[in-house]
Symmetry: C2
Subunit: 167 residues, 2 copies
């Protein structure tokens, strides 16, 4: 981090580039400008504005964006990522310990997701053996874990309590 800020020996401000434009952040992070705008609207990142109303980012935004990308890969929705990012200190640049804390929380999520999928795989394997897929008898059709949704569907109503099936 801030390795540059130490050696500004020349007085010509050679490093007026401590702040990044949105285009630079996009190029460096591999995230589209529109996505950065979106993240800002959602409160995941922040920027200063120049007198001409253009965004200027502190360099640690790169780490934030990296964290966002990683979190999404883990399967965490943006709202929860935003929540996590809000726990970072605003008075100082987040340090290794801060990021470690957040990442550790995600690992627990990931562990849970993996376990859930493994259970599902085992159930599915059983069901391939018995070929049931019967609504009332099959463990698969009757999720014991109503909570812990996953997948793209926004609804999680899980009406449940169907009825005995006699297919």
């Amino acid at each position: 981090m801030s390795e540059k800020s130490a050696e500004r020996a020349t007085e010509k401000v050679p490093w007026d580039h401590v702040e990044l434009t949105v285009g630079e952040v996009a190029a460096r992070s591999g995230v589209a400008v529109s996505a950065l705008h979106f993240y800002e609207r959602q409160g995941l990142i922040t920027s200063r504005r120049t007198p001409g109303n253009q965004r200027r980012y502190r360099r640690d935004v790169l780490r934030r964006v990296a964290f966002i990308r990683v979190s999404q890969r883990v399967g965490v929705p943006l709202a929860r990522i935003a929540e996590a990012l809000r726990t970072l200190p605003d008075d100082r640049t987040p340090n290794v310990r801060d990021w470690e804390r957040l990442s550790t929380a995600w690992r627990a999520d990931l562990d849970a997701r993996i376990e859930q999928l493994e259970r599902l795989r085992d159930d599915l394997t059983d069901c391939i053996g018995c070929g049931c897929l019967s609504l009332s008898r099959c463990v698969l059709a009757n999720p014991h874990d109503s909570l812990g949704d996953d997948g793209p569907g926004p609804r999680r109503l899980l009406v449940g309590t169907g009825a005995g099936d006699d297919l």
Copy 2:
């Protein structure tokens, strides 16, 4: 749930109930009527219409719906589920072997997803140790597996090839 025609000990067509109404399918499968309509529009299930334009389902629709629910839990999008269901024979009711084939395909998907997540977990564990989260150096921020998307985001452009980071 009007279980009106429960006693068909009478000789008057004892089993006129081999077909199910949409409400019955909803009750038995635990899926909302609106979802059944939706599945039908998407070609995942089909129905006959009565002279009064009401839907009547064959009983194997229950197994189909069970398969849809299970597939969604595995994380397969409806479009792919529909594709899979189209490979079922239309001339006869699908049998155990048919369902087995489909389920086996999903298990491969599931295995891949689990493996991917385990890789991610390992990477994350490493990154917690090193606390890097640096865009160019961190394995996490640079997905080696551009394909194999997951999570709610519809876009998978993955602009990639960012730049060296000097955070």
